[in-house]
C-alpha cells in the first residue's frame, strides 16, 4: 500500500489537471458547435458529436489506465517494434484505407475510423528517443543528424503517399526536439530565414521593395563589422542569392495551377476570394472576431452552430470558443496550453535519462506545433492546414493519439528514479 501511495505521488498531477481541463472545455465546445436550439439534444446524446466524444473520452481514460498500470520498461523495449509496426501500417494505408476527400488516410474497422498517421506520431517519438539515447549519439555530427532525420523522414514519406500534407507537416515539429538535443543553430537560422524570405516575397507585391530592403540590410551588416574583402563578398553574394530566390519563387508560383496559386495568395489576403478559397478563413475570423471581449455566452453563438464555419467541431473548434467565450476564453485556453508546454519542458529537463527527456521533448514538439498552427490558421495567421487542436477537436483518433503521446511521458516521468538506476 505504501508503495502505491508513493507511486501515485510521483505522478505529475499538474499535467493531468491541465489535460483534463482542456478535454472538458473541448467537450463542451463540441456540444456548442452542434447545438441546435430548435431541436435541443442533451450533451450526452450519442446521436450527436458531443455524445460520441464522450465515448472517446471514456475510452481515452481506459487507455490512460492501461498505460499507467503497464510496466514502464515496456515503452523502451517496444519502441522499435512499434515504430516498425506503424511504418508497415502507413505503407498499407494508401492501399486499404477508405477514400475520403481524395485521401486514403483512414482505416475503417466496423463503425470506427482510425487515422494511422495520428498514432504513428508517438511511435516515431519513441523510436527517436530509443535511437538517440546512446551517449555516442551526437547531433553536431552529420552522420547522426542524417540518422535522426531519416527516422522522421520515413513516416513523412509514407504519409505523403496518402496524401495527407497537413499530418505529414506535423512530423517536421520533431525539429524542435532536435534543437534541444543540440542540432546546430545555423540550420534553424537558415530554415527561419528561408521561410521568412519566402513569405515576404509572396506577401510583398513588388519584389523591388524586398530587394532594396535586402541590399540595405547587407550594406548595414558590412558596415557594422570589419570591412574585409571576404566579408564584403560573402554578404554581397548572400544578398544576391536571396533576391534571386525571391524572384524565382514568384515565377514558380505564377506557373502553378490557378487553384494552388489562390491557396497561397489567400493566405495574405483572404478577402480576395471570400466565397471560395477564402471562405474558411473569412468565416472563421468572423466567428472568432464576433465574440468580442467577453464572448456571446455559452450556446449563444451563431456562426459555428449554423454551419457558417466549416469543420466547426474538428479543425475549427477554436472558433466556437472564440465566439462564445470571447478574448477572455481564448486567453484562458492559450494560457492553459502555454502552461502545459512549459510544464512539459520542465518535466523533460528533470528526466534522468536521455530516453525520457528526448521523448518528453517530442511531446512538447508535437503539441506546440498543433497548438500554434491550428489557432494561427483559424485567425488567418497561417494557411488552412487540416490539423486538429490537441484535446479539443472532435474525434477518436486525435484524442486517443494525443492522450497516448502525453501519458506515455507522464508514465516515464513517474518512474524517473527507477529509470536512472537502469542507465547508470
Amino acid at each position: 500500500m505504501r508503495q502505491d501511495d508513493l507511486y501515485i505521488s510521483r505522478i505529475d498531477w499538474i499535467t493531468i489537471l491541465i489535460y483534463s481541463i482542456l478535454v472538458i472545455i473541448g467537450w463542451f465546445n463540441i456540444y456548442a458547435a452542434v447545438y441546435d436550439e430548435q431541436a435541443a439534444k442533451s450533451i450526452f446524446d450519442f446521436s450527436i458529436n458531443s455524445g460520441k466524444q464522450l465515448v472517446w473520452i471514456g475510452t481515452a481514460i481506459l487507455l490512460i489506465t492501461v498505460i499507467m498500470v503497464a510496466d514502464y520498461r515496456l515503452f523502451d523495449n517496444l519502441s522499435l517494434i512499434l515504430y516498425g509496426f506503424f511504418l508497415l501500417i502507413l505503407l498499407l494505408t494508401p492501399f486499404i484505407g477508405k477514400e475520403i476527400n481524395g485521401q486514403r488516410a483512414w482505416f475503417e474497422i466496423g463503425a470506427f475510423r482510425l487515422q494511422p498517421a495520428e498514432f504513428a506520431k508517438f511511435a516515431t517519438a519513441l523510436a527517436l528517443a530509443k535511437f538517440m539515447e546512446a551517449p555516442t549519439f551526437d547531433l553536431s555530427k552529420g552522420k547522426y543528424q542524417l540518422r535522426a532525420l531519416a527516422i522522421i523522414g520515413l513516416p513523412i514519406a509514407l504519409i505523403m503517399l496518402q496524401p495527407d500534407t497537413g499530418t505529414a507537416m506535423v512530423y517536421s515539429a520533431f525539429g524542435i526536439m532536435l534543437f534541444r538535443e543540440g542540432m546546430p543553430q545555423r540550420y534553424y537560422v537558415f530554415a527561419i530565414g528561408f521561410v521568412a524570405i519566402s513569405l515576404l516575397s509572396l506577401g510583398i507585391e513588388n519584389n523591388l521593395y524586398l530587394a532594396a530592403a535586402v541590399m540595405a540590410l547587407m550594406v548595414l551588416l558590412i558596415l557594422a563589422g570589419k570591412k574585409t574583402w571576404q566579408r564584403i563578398v560573402t554578404f554581397a553574394v548572400m544578398g544576391l542569392v536571396i533576391i534571386a530566390y525571391s524572384y524565382s519563387l514568384d515565377y514558380v508560383v505564377s506557373k502553378l495551377p490557378d487553384h494552388q496559386q489562390n491557396r497561397i495568395m489567400v493566405l495574405f489576403n483572404p478577402d480576395l476570394d471570400p466565397l471560395g478559397v477564402g471562405w474558411n478563413v473569412t468565416q472563421s475570423k468572423i466567428a472568432i472576431g464576433s465574440g468580442g471581449f467577453m464572448g456571446k455566452g455559452y450556446l449563444e453563438g451563431t456562426q459555428t452552430k449554423f454551419d457558417f464555419v466549416p469543420e466547426q467541431h474538428t479543425d475549427f473548434i477554436f472558433c466556437t470558443l472564440g465566439e462564445e467565450f470571447g478574448w477572455i476564453g481564448s486567453l484562458i485556453v492559450i494560457i492553459l496550453f502555454g502552461a502545459l508546454l512549459v510544464r512539459l519542458i520542465y518535466l523533460s529537463e528533470r528526466q534522468k535519462t536521455r530516453f525520457s527527456r528526448i521523448y518528453g521533448y517530442c511531446v512538447v514538439s508535437i503539441l506546440l506545433f498543433h497548438f500554434t498552427i491550428n489557432i494561427a490558421m483559424t485567425i488567418g495567421l497561417f494557411p488552412v492546414v487540416g490539423i486538429p487542436l490537441p484535446f479539443f477537436s472532435y474525434g477518436g483518433s486525435s484524442l486517443w493519439s494525443f492522450t497516448i503521446l502525453l501519458f506515455i511521458f507522464i508514465k516515464l516521468d513517474s518512474h524517473r528514479i527507477q529509470l536512472l538506476g537502469r542507465n547508470g
Binding site: 441546435d36 436550439e37 430548435q38 524542435i176 534543437f179 534541444r180 538535443e181 543540440g182 468565416q283 475570423k285 468572423i286 466567428a287 472568432i288 472576431g289 464576433s290 465574440g291 468580442g292 471581449f293 449563444e300 451563431t302 456562426q303 452552430k305 449554423f306 454551419d307 457558417f308 472564440g322 465566439e323 470571447g326 478574448w327 481564448s330 486567453l331 492559450i334 494560457i335 496550453f337 502555454g338 508546454l341 512549459v342 519542458i345 523533460s348 529537463e349 512538447v364 506546440l368 500554434t372 489557432i375 494561427a376 485567425i379 488567418g380 495567421l381
Partner: protein
C-alpha cells in the same frame, strides 16, 4: 549540452502565445466589423407588415378592407408527391405547370420556399387546407391586398402602390423600405400615416443555407407590428353610389357637402374606374392602362378640374356688393343688352330679380360700381385698386386657392388680380372694360367643383363654412382629424345679407331650373353655364336644401351638356332627394338623367 536552449524554447512558447493573443485581441476586441459581419451572416431581419386601416362610410358601411390572398409555397427539399394526377387535381394545377414551378423553385433554392400556385382564392384555400398535411414541404403564405366591396368612390379613396425613389428620399426617419406600399392618392395618400400602422420587426437566425433557426435572443429585440387605424369617412355610400349611377356615361363632377360640418357626403368624378383594378399585383398592369385612357379616369375632377364659375358667381357678386354697401336690395339696373347679352325677363330688375333671372347687364353695371369707386381720378389706377380689393373679398369665399381638403393635388382655381392683368396687358393698360367678364363669372376666373359646392354650403350657412373634408373620425375619435377641419371660417359677409339671396335662389328654380323642383323640399339653387371654347358648354348647378334647414349643399358639373338647368340641375335635384328622402319619387327625371341626352 547547451543549457540555454530550453529557455529559448520557453521564450518561443511565450512569444507564440503573445502573438496569438495580440491577433485575437485585434479581431475580437479592437475591430467590431466581424461582429457586424456575423450578424449579417446569421441574423435576418424579417419585417412584419401590419394590416392597413379600414375605411368606412359615415353609416359604418365598409368602403376599403384587406383581402387575404393565399400563395401556395413549396420547399423542394421536403416536397414529395406520390400521385401526381391526384395532386394536380386537388391543387388545380396542370402537370406541366407543376413541373415548371417545381423546377423553378429548385433552381431558386433547395431549402427556401418558393411560390407554387399564386393567389389562391378563398374557396380554393378552404378546399385544400385539409389536404396540405399530406404533402410535406407545402404550406400556404398569406398576403393582404386592398379590396373595395362596392367598387365605388375610387378617386376619393385613392390607391396604394410601391413607394417611389423620391418618396423614399423624403422619408427622413427611414420608416419605409424599397418595395413598401404607401398611399399614393386620395384618402389613402393623405391619411397614410394613420392607415399604415406600424411595422414590426422580427430578428430570425438562419444557418448558412438560409434555413430558419428560430428567433434571435428569444425575440428580445423583436417589435410587434401595430395595425393601422380605421377611418370613418364622411362619404355616404348610398348617395355616392347613386351619384355614380347618375353620372355614368358622362363627364363631370358631383360634390355634396353637409353645410353644418363641411363633411363631404359624396364626391363623384366621372368617368371613374373600379378601385379593385389598382389593388395588389393588378396595379402594375392597370395603372399604365388607366393613365393612358383618353377619358382620364384617374383625373380627380372634383378637386382638379377648373372651370369659369359662370352665372353662379353672380350670387357672390351680390353678397360682396351688399356687404360693401354698393348694392341694397332695392338697387336696380336696366337690362341693357347693348352691354352684354341677356335673356328675356322683367326689366329693370332689383337685386332679387337680378339673381332670380340671372341678369347679365345688371352685374355688368353693378360690378363697375364695385370696382371703380373713384378713389383715383386715373381710371386705370382706380380699376386696379378696386379689383384687388374685390379679389380679397372673393377669396374669403374659399375661391382662388385650395380649400385644403384631405386629398392630394387639390387645385386652387384662379381669381385674377392686378398682377395677372399687368402681366397680360401691362401696367396701367387695362381698365374696367377689359375685365368686365368677371362680373358674370366668366373671363380669367376659374374654380373647382369642390369650391362650388363649398360656395353652396356658404350660401346655406349664411356666411361661414368648415373646410370640406372626407374624414369624420380616425381610430374612433373625431379629435384625431386635423384641427383646420374643425375650425369655422367666416367669409366676411353679414348673415342678414344672405336672407334675400337665399329667397332669390329658391325662386330662381322656377324658370331657370324647373326640373330641379321637388314637391316637399325647398331647394335654393342657381344654374350656371361654363363656357367651353372647345365644344358644347358645361352644365353647372349649385344648390342647397332644404332652404330653411340646409342638410346638403351640392355642386354638379356635367361637361358638354349645355345649359345648367337641364343636366346639372336634374342631377343635383335627384341627389338631394336621394339624400333627404332616401328614395326617388320622379322616375321620369331619373330616366332623363340616366339617358344623358341633354343637348337638343
Amino acid at each position: 549540452m547547451n543549457n540555454s536552449r530550453p529557455a529559448i524554447l520557453i521564450s518561443i512558447i511565450v512569444l507564440i502565445a503573445i502573438v496569438l493573443l495580440t491577433k485575437l485581441f485585434m479581431i475580437q476586441v479592437a475591430d467590431d466589423s466581424f461582429l457586424k459581419r456575423a450578424e449579417r451572416n446569421a441574423i435576418q431581419r424579417v419585417v412584419d407588415h401590419p394590416y392597413r386601416g379600414l375605411v368606412y362610410d359615415r353609416n359604418d358601411k365598409l368602403l376599403v378592407y384587406n383581402n387575404p390572398v393565399f400563395d401556395l409555397m413549396v420547399i423542394p427539399k421536403e416536397f414529395t408527391v406520390k400521385d401526381t394526377a391526384r395532386f394536380c387535381d386537388l391543387f388545380n394545377i396542370e402537370k406541366e405547370e407543376l413541373i415548371i414551378r417545381y423546377q423553378a423553385a429548385r433552381k431558386y433554392s433547395w431549402v427556401k420556399p418558393s411560390p407554387m400556385v399564386k393567389a389562391i382564392s378563398n374557396e380554393d384555400f378552404a378546399r385544400i387546407q385539409d389536404y396540405l398535411i399530406d404533402y410535406p414541404g407545402l404550406f400556404v403564405m398569406t398576403r393582404s391586398v386592398r379590396a373595395y366591396p362596392q367598387a365605388s368612390a375610387a378617386n376619393a379613396l385613392g390607391y396604394i402602390g410601391e413607394i417611389s425613389g423620391a418618396q423614399l428620399e423624403k422619408d427622413t426617419v427611414k420608416y419605409y423600405r424599397q418595395g413598401d406600399y404607401v398611399g399614393l392618392a386620395g384618402m389613402e395618400g393623405f391619411y397614410e400615416h394613420y392607415l399604415r400602422g406600424r411595422k414590426g420587426v422580427k430578428y430570425k437566425m438562419v444557418n448558412v443555407r438560409g434555413v430558419d433557426k428560430g428567433s434571435f435572443k428569444g425575440g428580445e429585440y423583436d417589435t410587434m407590428s401595430m395595425a393601422g387605424k380605421n377611418i370613418v369617412s364622411t362619404i355616404d355610400l348610398d348617395l355616392q353610389l347613386y351619384g355614380e349611377k347618375l353620372m355614368s356615361g358622362k363627364r363631370g363632377s358631383v360634390v355634396a357637402i353637409e353645410p353644418s360640418t363641411g363633411e363631404v357626403l359624396a364626391m363623384i368624378s366621372a368617368p371613374s374606374y373600379d378601385p379593385n383594378q389598382l389593388a395588389g399585383s393588378r396595379f402594375g398592369k392597370n395603372y399604365g392602362l388607366l393613365t393612358m385612357d383618353e377619358t382620364k379616369p384617374l383625373f380627380n375632377r372634383p378637386i382638379m378640374a377648373m372651370y369659369p364659375p359662370g352665372s353662379i358667381f353672380k350670387v357672390v357678386q351680390s353678397l360682396i356688393g351688399l356687404q360693401e354697401g354698393i348694392f341694397t336690395p332695392n338697387t336696380t339696373f336696366p337690362c341693357n343688352q347693348a352691354l352684354v347679352k341677356c335673356h328675356p325677363h322683367p326689366s329693370p330688375a332689383n337685386l332679387f330679380g337680378a339673381i332670380k333671372y340671372s341678369c347679365n347687364p345688371y352685374y355688368h353695371q353693378g360690378y363697375r360700381k364695385l370696382i371703380n369707386r373713384e378713389v383715383s381720378s386715373n381710371t386705370f389706377i382706380d380699376t386696379r385698386i378696386g379689383l384687388d380689393q374685390w379679389r380679397e373679398s372673393v377669396m374669403k369665399f374659399g375661391l382662388g386657392s385650395p380649400l385644403g381638403i384631405d386629398m392630394r393635388n387639390e387645385k386652387g382655381g384662379q381669381i385674377p388680380g392686378s398682377a395677372l392683368y399687368n402681366k397680360i396687358y401691362g401696367e396701367n393698360r387695362w381698365k374696367y372694360s377689359t375685365i368686365y367678364s368677371l362680373s358674370i363669372g366668366q373671363g380669367e376666373m376659374l374654380v373647382t367643383p369642390l369650391q362650388m359646392a363649398n360656395l353652396a354650403a356658404i350660401f346655406a350657412n349664411k356666411g361661414w363654412y368648415y373646410p370640406p373634408h372626407l374624414v369624420r373620425s380616425i381610430d374612433g375619435s373625431s379629435e384625431n382629424i386635423p384641427e383646420k377641419f374643425r375650425t369655422k371660417v367666416s367669409v366676411g359677409v353679414d348673415a342678414h345679407h344672405f336672407d334675400m339671396v337665399q329667397e332669390a335662389m329658391a325662386e330662381a328654380l322656377s324658370g331657370t331650373a324647373n326640373r330641379a323642383i321637388i314637391k316637399d323640399i325647398v331647394i335654393a339653387g342657381k344654374t350656371g353655364t361654363a363656357q367651353n371654347p372647345g365644344g358644347a358648354d358645361h352644365s353647372v348647378f349649385v344648390a342647397f336644401a332644404p332652404k330653411d334647414n340646409p342638410k346638403i349643399a351640392i355642386a354638379v358639373y356635367v361637361e358638354n351638356s349645355g345649359f345648367g338647368g337641364r343636366a346639372a340641375a336634374s342631377t343635383a335635384s335627384l341627389m338631394i332627394e336621394q339624400y333627404l328622402r332616401g328614395d326617388i319619387t320622379r322616375p321620369a327625371l331619373e330616366e332623363y338623367v340616366l339617358a344623358g341626352k341633354f343637348l337638343y
